[in-house]
Structure formats: structure tokens, C-alpha cells
Amino acid sequence: METNSHFVTLENVTKRFGDLEVLHGINLTVDLHQVVCLIGASGSGKSTLLRCINLLEQVDDGTIVVDGQAITGTKVDVNALRQRIGIVFQAFNLFPHMNVLENVTLAPIRARGMSKTQARLRARELLALIGLEDKEDEYPDRLSGGQQQRVAIARALAMNPNLMLLDEITSALDPQLVGEVLALVRTLAHEGMTMIIATHEMSFAREVADKVCFLDAGVILEEGPCDQIFSAPREERTREFLQRVIEAGRL
């Protein structure tokens, strides 16, 4: 099958919360170094889809293959898997009792068994990348939202993941702080990081995405290259959604 050539393959992925079916048979492929943006209204299943790929949610049906390995099944080492797949959340979810450096080094030291010195060295590299090398002793509550989200990205990158999942990472930020976070994501994209990004920032999606998927009520209604989705959407629902976005001034 040709599925082997893709870095991430989702086949017929279905997820229910009780009686509510949130994802109905999602099929999606992502190639290495590709950036895929998931767009769609709130509640369309974008976040759930990302959480399924990280196994934070268990899928009820279907298969997910990452880097040639099926991750849906009972014999999967979830901890090892998650070390290779980074996820960044809308609400940052930094650890408030740890300073920036501790936030970034916790998982490399504890989950991967890296030495403290090595983990710190790597963390400082990452803090330089995100432009917060002077904040390593600060606690999250003393940072701005944009700074916190950049630290959260650094924390995920510290595990050297080969896939990053970004779950509406700018939705909780003040408009003037969105830019600094998106600039960082842009850098990652240019460096070839494979990413699946759920976002409401359409102009950003248009700029970085190799492929855009429009989710509606738990299915990928339409997918294609940016130009096609944004300029010539085939589906009526996609057109409606984009129209609303344009009216809200986000495109």
C-alpha cells in the first residue's frame, strides 16, 4: 500500500464521547517535512483529532500510523510514542511551580534520562531560539501569554520530536502577542519540522501550510493546497466558513 510512504497516516479514525461521535472516519496523510493546517469552526473536531494522534484520547475505531509504526492498538508504549510527538496547547499548560528552565528540562531528564547538564545545554539553545534566554529563572505566571506559549513550544521541542501538533496555540493570546508565536512556528516550518496545526489564523495557514484540511462536524469535508481551499473551495460549507472568517476580519 502507498500508505507506507507517508509520515503520518490516519485511516477511518473515529472517536466518540459517550453518545456523541466527535470524529467520523477521518482519513488524512501527512508527509515528512509537511505542514498541514486544520481549519474549521470550534467543535468541528480539530483538537480531538490532534489529541488522538498523541494518544491523549483513545480512538474508538480506525488506525493511525506514525513513522511506519501503528500507534492505535494495545501494545503501544504510549510514553515512548509521546516523546517523539510534541503537542502544544491553546492554554500553554506550563508547570506553574517550576521556572522556565525546569519546565523545559523536566521531560528530557525524567522521561528520557538525559543528564542534567546536557538537558540544560539543550534547553538554553532552545531558549535562545525562542528569544527568551534571559528568562530561564522566571516562573510562568510572570511571563506574558506570548512568552509562555513560546516556552511551551520550547518544552515540546526539548524532546526532539519528529512531529509537532499545535492546538490553536494563538487562540488564547492578545492580538499583539500572536505575531511572536507565529514567527516561531514559521521558523520551525522553514527548518522542516513536520507539523499538524489546528488554527483560526487563516492568513498564517495560507502562508505556511502545504495542505489545508477543512473539518466540519467530525469529517474532513475538503482538503487541498492553500490556494485551492482559500481561493476556490469546492464545498458549500467551506465557502460559508471562509465567508464568516472574512467577515470577522481574520483573512
Binding site: 510514553n79 510514542l81 508547570f95 523536566l106
Partner: protein
């Protein structure tokens, strides 16, 4: 008024009672320190067991619930009677030594572990689930997430209620006197029968108060220090 003052606050009796009551109070201190250390550890274990996920750990969870229900609901004095009088009557030599002190520790630990378990549990549950999710998403195991992310945050939040329970425990060490252990309240009682004066009880009360106030202020200090370190400056 003078009579009242003399009975409880006569300076002569007050001073004279101090060494005797202090003699007994040392037993209270030992009881509380040992029991508190045990409670801190056992209550944490029971709280963790109560929070275990999955159907497989249901029997353990149920056991933890039954334990807390029983010992939180039983008056300490009844537990003391059961442990101090009932258990030795079983005559299991070699398993239990028979010092009143030992049984006192056992009773205090049994009862206060049940209270403190609930305090810990409330603290653990007050940490937002997204914290556990963030920790797990980085590849930390359930235990690592608990140890490095959930518990440190829970601990900080439970310090004030924990201290409250410990003050309760410290005071309840005096209850063990009813079973014949010579501690501060007992010594104060001896003093009152020897000298027909009750200043000994006042002395004992002062000892208990002196012990709790610095602890309360120390806790306040800890909380404040953490606030200033981790929280944003006041707006």
C-alpha cells in the same frame, strides 16, 4: 475574681507547675512528631491509591474509601479504647509490644491519616487536569506526572488545611491521658491533686498554644514567600 485568678493563674503555682508539666509535655511532643510524620506518609499513600485510574485498581480504591470513612467517622477516644484496651486483650505477643505510647501513636495515626488523606485528595483534585495532560504529552509516565507535576502543586495548596489538622492532632495527644499515659494533662492533674491548685492546667494549655502559634506563622511565611516568587506582581 481573686479566687478564680488564684486557682488558675497564681504565679507561685504557675512557676512551680512548669517543670512537672514540661516533664509530661515532652511525651506529647514525641507523640505528635512521630504521629505527624507517619500521617504525612500514610495519608499520601492512601490519597494516591484513591486516585488510581482504571477498573483494575477498584478493589484498592474501595479499601481506601472504607478506611477513610471508618476512621474519620469514629471518635478518637473510641479508637483509643479499642486499640489500647481491645488489641492487647487479643494477647498477640510478639506482634505488638504493650507500651501505651506505641498504642497512642497507632490510634492517632489511624484517625488523622483518614483526615489528612481527604486533605491531600482535595489538593490533588484541585490541580487542573490539563497539567497531567501536559505532563503525559511530554512522555512522562503516570507516576512521573504525579510525582513531578501534580503532587508538588497539590502539596503547596494543602499546607494550610494540613496544618489545621496537625494542630488538631497535637491537641488530641492530651486525650491519651485518659488511658493512663503520663503526659502534660496527666501531670497537670497530678499537680492539682498535690497542691489543690489548677495552674498546672493553665501551664499545659500555654504549652500547647506556644507550640502551635509559631507553626502557624511559619506556614503563613512559606505561603507568602512562594506567592512572591511564582505569581505575577500584584496589579
Amino acid at each position: 475574681m481573686g479566687k478564680f485568678f488564684h486557682a488558675f493563674f497564681s504565679p507561685l503555682d504557675f512557676l512551680r507547675a512548669v517543670p512537672q508539666v514540661w516533664d509530661g509535655f515532652q511525651t506529647n511532643i514525641k507523640l505528635m512528631v512521630i504521629a505527624e510524620a507517619l500521617v504525612l506518609v500514610f495519608a499520601l499513600l492512601v490519597a494516591i491509591v484513591r486516585g488510581l485510574p482504571g477498573r483494575a485498581s477498584f478493589p484498592l480504591r474501595a479499601l481506601a474509601i472504607v478506611y477513610t470513612d471508618v476512621f474519620r467517622g469514629t471518635p478518637l477516644i473510641l479508637v483509643l479504647f479499642i486499640v489500647l484496651l481491645g488489641v492487647p486483650a487479643l494477647d498477640m505477643t510478639g506482634i505488638f509490644d504493650r507500651s501505651l505510647f506505641f498504642y497512642g501513636i497507632v490510634s492517632l495515626t489511624l484517625v488523622y491519616t483518614a483526615y489528612v488523606t481527604e486533605v491531600y485528595r482535595a489538593g490533588i483534585e484541585s490541580v487542573h487536569p490539563s497539567q497531567r495532560m501536559a505532563a503525559r504529552s511530554l512522555g512522562l509516565s503516570y507516576t512521573q506526572a504525579l510525582r513531578f507535576v501534580i503532587l508538588p502543586q497539590a502539596f503547596r495548596r494543602v499546607i494550610p488545611p494540613l496544618l489545621n489538622d496537625f494542630i488538631g492532632l497535637q491537641k488530641d495527644t492530651a486525650l491519651i491521658t485518659v488511658l493512663g499515659l503520663t503526659e502534660a494533662a496527666a501531670q497537670a492533674g497530678f499537680y492539682s491533686t498535690d497542691y489543690f491548685n489548677y495552674a498546672g492546667f493553665t501551664v499545659a494549655a500555654v504549652f500547647f498554644i506556644i507550640l502551635t502559634i509559631p507553626l502557624a506563622r511559619f506556614t503563613d511565611h512559606l505561603i507568602k514567600e512562594r506567592e512572591s516568587r511564582e505569581r505575577a506582581q500584584a496589579v
